[in-house]
């Protein structure tokens, strides 16, 4: 089995590689379209800023490559947001795999909501194969200022004053706003289930 991690100008790729290694899977980091298309599993990670990341993906032709993937593909954090339709982060048109908007958290009262959300939060309403071995209300690790709204493709809900999509799925496309590679045993179960799809 070949697992590819899409290389682009966004961080945390190393952590994803290490998480795969802990499951005895060697990930290949690449931005080569042919190699990405040929993989069994694709991971689209990301910590960064939406417009810069989208510009890079378009320059490399990776936007079309990602949209047309047919194998199981997992977007993480910014990766998930870029799989949505549009992001408020610098008014960026994204890949549109999920027909959802990405919005910025706003605090209803000054300092009530600390932005970005950094830390552990629980997820509910789980219904996707990648959550097969993850219990309801499991804590996952989040770091983000923007969130995807709820929609028919939502497969996990988190609450940070408002309810939002903690995970999404449409056909072969899976996505998590949290970092499974940093979410202890429940994150490992998610990655394991994804690799076994």
């Amino acid at each position: 089995m070949k697992t590819v991690i899409i290389k682009y100008n966004a961080g945390n790729i190393r952590s994803v590689l290490f998480a795969l290694e802990r499951q005895n899977v060697e990930g290949v980091v690449t931005d080569d379209p042919a190699e990405i298309r040929a993989a069994d599993k694709v991971i689209f990670p990301g910590v960064g800023e939406a417009s810069t990341a989208m510009r890079y993906l378009r320059e490399k032709g990776l936007d079309k490559v990602i949209k047309n993937l047919e194998q199981p593909t997992l977007g993480i954090c910014l990766g998930m947001q870029l799989m949505c339709k549009h992001s408020e982060e610098n008014n960026t048109d994204c890949l549109g795999i999920f027909d959802l908007n990405v919005r910025k958290f706003t605090s209803p009262v000054e300092n009530l909501l600390k932005i970005p959300q950094i830390g552990w939060n629980n997820i509910t309403g789980l219904h996707s194969k990648i959550f097969e071995h993850v219990p309801q209300n499991a804590y996952m690790y989040f770091v983000h200022s923007y969130y995807a709204e709820l929609g028919p493709e939502t497969t996990a809900i988190a609450n940070y004053v408002i309810n939002y999509s903690a995970a999404l799925q449409k056909n072969n496309f899976y996505a998590a706003q949290f970092h499974p590679e940093k979410s202890a045993e429940h994150g490992e179960k998610l990655i394991e289930s994804f690799l076994n799809l």
Partner: protein, 196 residues
């Protein structure tokens, strides 16, 4: 240079082995230092004296890496009626008030504050609830309380009274004076949100 390489290698070994986020601190004073540590696999870095001596460092780091991975550590001591910033592991006193420095640091891009009270550290008499509470309630970023933990009640106090976002303790866990799982159970029973 050699020291930096050794630390980076340690960070990589840790990142291989653990599946939760971790922060690395100690002697960090440049964008290059942070770049090496984050690329080695650290999730966050903590800066202290170097940021106080050259506050622009916080702007540079948050611009380059995002404020979510920049923790500002402050060592503070209460004397003459206020809390003051100390540097170099508490050996050098400054004239800066802790609340002022913390606010400036957040404005410059610090994403979290790790606050250690030198008056409380090592006493096992409880956290510094007043200054921790002031920062936790006035700043728009998480505040981690450090110094003084001796009993489970102390943790409950720092979360409930001071509204700290997190609490740090070292020796009581290292020397097994308190089991982390027992503490989590205790706090859970006090209706605090706890991840087991």
């Amino acid at each position: 240079m050699e020291r930096r390489k050794t630390l980076a290698e340690l960070v990589t070994r840790i990142a291989h082995h653990i599946n939760i986020p971790f922060t690395v601190g100690g002697g960090i004073s440049s964008v290059e230092d942070v770049s090496v540590l984050l690329n080695a696999g650290a999730d966050k870095v903590s800066v202290n004296s170097a940021a106080f001596r050259r506050p622009e460092l916080l702007n540079e780091l948050s611009l380059e890496f995002g404020s979510q991975c920049i923790v500002l550590a402050i060592d503070t001591k209460f004397e003459d009626g206020d809390w003051y910033v100390y540097l170099n592991g508490g050996r050098v006193k400054t004239e800066a008030k802790t609340a002022d420095w913390a606010k400036e640091a957040v404005d410059r891009g610090a994403g979290e504050i790790l606050l250690t009270s030198m008056n409380n550290d090592g006493t096992k008499q409880g956290f510094a609830l007043d200054i921790t509470g002031k920062l936790a309630q006035e700043l728009p970023v998480p505040v981690i309380a450090s110094g003084g933990a001796g009993t489970m009640q102390h943790f409950a106090d720092v979360f409930e009274v001071a509204q700290a976002d997190a609490a740090l303790a070292a020796s009581i866990f290292h020397y097994k004076e308190m089991e982390i799982q027992e503490l989590k159970k205790y706090l859970y029973q006090r209706n605090l949100s706890i991840r087991f």
